[in-house]
Symmetry: C2
Subunit: 415 residues, 2 copies
């Protein structure tokens, strides 16, 4: 496949990708869109021009919308047909390639668009599915000899997060204030968090509504997953460590989470499937699965101080995940919990074995013991005011590249 | 105040109440409504007839809706004016009292209506604010000598719950299946929960959207609270105890929560304000508050086996709450977490000091050690299939009664 739109070889948005998002075009018009190279394509107008007319099940212009929810609810047969149609249209031999009027109407340069949240998120769950991350945290906060808790290898541990404060890449986040109890203090104190952290995660988005009492099996799960985004689960470690026993993380997390604007479909990620780490002990039947359910996605985290350059501080990979998405969704629904279109399910911090693959400052600096040295000659134990954290992710194989772009977020001083 | 609608002295829905809900009328027409005695009043048609014409800020017929969200977002000046107008209209001296046509069009008997969820719930948080409940749980599962965790008296502990599975009273709930690890088992097992429980709670509903980074102080909090409902936080104890360390309750809770259909406003509850239990140690500044922020609301739980009578198994009171709603909302937002219209914030199990005031089977039977004897000569350690749990709540003072009606839910066998 070769497109009439030119883009560099290392573009995340090759013709093999065709992700979906929502954009404000020229500050005035909002519609669902896709992207190739650095061109953003207005799908609502493309629909009006009849390019999707013969796609069965696509009866309304669901792209005339502020979110992708209506589109993704149509399910895989329709959303895959749309994605494949877009690939055909972008081919250098297509009729669109010579249709200057449509191109002028529907194709925008990146600088003409502002990306919005791709979906409305009715429910958000965060898992804890990297064995390296869970082990690191267990070593630091509990018992180095028994870092993993007894349940960890038997079920994908997760908890409900805050849906209201998930924002799109580029949104600024205020440093949270809160209660914390320094180790040497007798009583808790109140103030801006001094241990603000990121967590390198990915999240998947569900494309269907289920009824309460209904479950989704590991075999059915991938049909219910539209695609994935990069996810930064900002965390205030000092607030979190004082509050989280016994009911879990709360104000240490719910002040904000950032996501990348482009939803990359599971179909675009298919070429990058890999097997998962071996699960030992064997899991219960409802968590068993067949085939390669993991994905080889390179992940990077950059820290950029104000007026400074980007510093690459972490190189990890989604393939390290112990629990896969199919297991996460099967576990989440095995008790009859219903899911909704647009639900977001995050992976938990994705750490690898190497020290430079740890997906949080907490792990990278080992609780602040080994500060990171930045190229502007400053050091970081945690994230400082006006720092920007940028996460990037892409898969690459046999010359085919499919990526997520980035999720970026700047920390402003506390209000 | 005396209404032209007759109702018994012990009706929860006196002219002093005027709660709000959403009903299906005659199986075909949905609108927001209020209730007096056993009459349900269609507010959308009442609006069309001009009875609210002069209320400032009520420009659209927000009662023509499937949820109360649009109405409550108008804020207290409007929602209070509407409530007071309804009280005037229901007075025996009002013009409505002699307007037979309007009464015939807008007033329905209870058996002509089916109540729906009163609000769309964008986010749901569950607190843990009864000191008696937290102490009971701490004694059973941790250390009887140090039952309360160190953070408990310093902040209103809470966690995010699942919004998608909150259902209205009368909805049946399937017994959840899941992973659990019996004390004598070497490995976890999978199956229907054997320790299904209720939790007697109340929840408040927020009437505004805030921006990320914004906080709501204890002084501002009650202006942001539209009203309250009864809340049954169904809990599968065996699933919960295996999963909840370290990230909190998840599948042990998210299979379903039940709420009463009528939202009782804070204004209707004003006459029943009482002071809270003394908080010692003193709380941090952002949790301090002035005035009586607690409410004297009698709470009862009934267990009804299939084909059996109701058994009163718990008598508690909302006034036992250690942390009040203003503190809960101030804490929740002190880190800049944004709230949304319709958000539901539940209290946590409301237990008192007496053994018959404990708000869950876990506490009433002390983990199953002392089964409850029912009047059909059966016993219960936890909730069995086809049992119905009914919670009722009302406030009463100087002959004025304002109540919530009930939240009822039947447990069906596992799917």
């Amino acid at each position: 496949m070769k497109s009439f739109v030119n883009y560099p070889e290392n573009s995340d948005f090759s013709i093999h990708n065709i992700p979906f998002g929502v954009a404000v075009f020229n500050k005035e018009y909002i519609a669902c869109c896709t992207r190739i190279g650095d061109m953003v394509i207005d799908l609502a107008t493309l629909y009006d021009y009849g390019f999707f007319d013969d796609i069965e099940g696509l009866d309304d212009n669901v792209f005339e919308a502020y979110t992708l929810n209506e589109f993704i609810e149509l399910g895989k047969p329709v959303t895959n047909a749309v994605r494949e149609r877009i690939q055909e249209l972008l081919d250098e031999e297509s009729k669109l390639a010579r249709d200057e009027k449509t191109i002028e109407e529907c194709f925008y340069n990146l600088d003409q668009v502002k990306m919005m949240m791709p979906v409305h998120v009715p429910n958000y769950t965060d898992f804890y599915s990297s064995i390296e991350h869970a082990t690191n945290v267990g070593k630091m906060f509990r018992d180095p000899a028994n870092a993993l808790l007894p349940n960890w290898k038997h079920l994908p541990v997760g908890y409900h997060g805050r849906a209201s404060s998930i924002v799109v890449s580029g949104s600024e986040i205020h440093r949270p204030k809160g209660q914390m109890k320094p180790a040497d203090a007798e009583k808790p104190i109140f103030g801006p968090s001094k241990q603000l952290d990121f967590e390198l995660e990915m999240a998947f988005i569900v494309n269907k509504n289920t009824e309460m009492g209904e479950s989704i099996s590991t075999a059915e799960a991938e049909d219910a997953i539209f695609g994935m985004v990069l996810f930064n689960d900002w965390s205030a470690r000092d607030i979190q460590s004082w509050e989280y026993v016994p009911l879990g993380p709360f104000l240490g997390k719910n002040f904000g989470s950032s996501v990348s604007p482009w939803v990359v479909t599971l179909e675009a990620l298919n070429p990058f499937r890999v097997s998962s780490p071996t699960q030992d002990p064997e899991v219960l039947d409802y968590l068993k699965f067949e085939g390669d359910k993991n994905f080889d996605i390179n992940l990077e985290v950059y820290l950029q101080p104000e007026n400074g350059d980007e510093n690459l501080i972490c190189k990890s990979n989604y393939k390290f995940m112990y629990w896969n998405m199919a297991q996460q969704l099967a576990h989440h629904t095995v008790n009859g919990c219903n899911v909704e279109v647009g639900d977001m399910y995050a992976s938990g911090t994705i750490s690898g074995k190497d020290e430079n693959s740890f997906g949080s400052m907490l792990e990278l600096t080992w609780r602040g013991q080994n500060p990171l040295k930045l190229n502007n000659r400053t050091e970081r134990k945690f994230i400082e005011d006006n720092d920007t954290v940028i996460m990037r992710g892409y898969a690459e194989k046999n010359g085919v590249r499919v990526g997520f772009g980035e999720v970026s977020g700047k920390i402003l001083p506390a209000n």
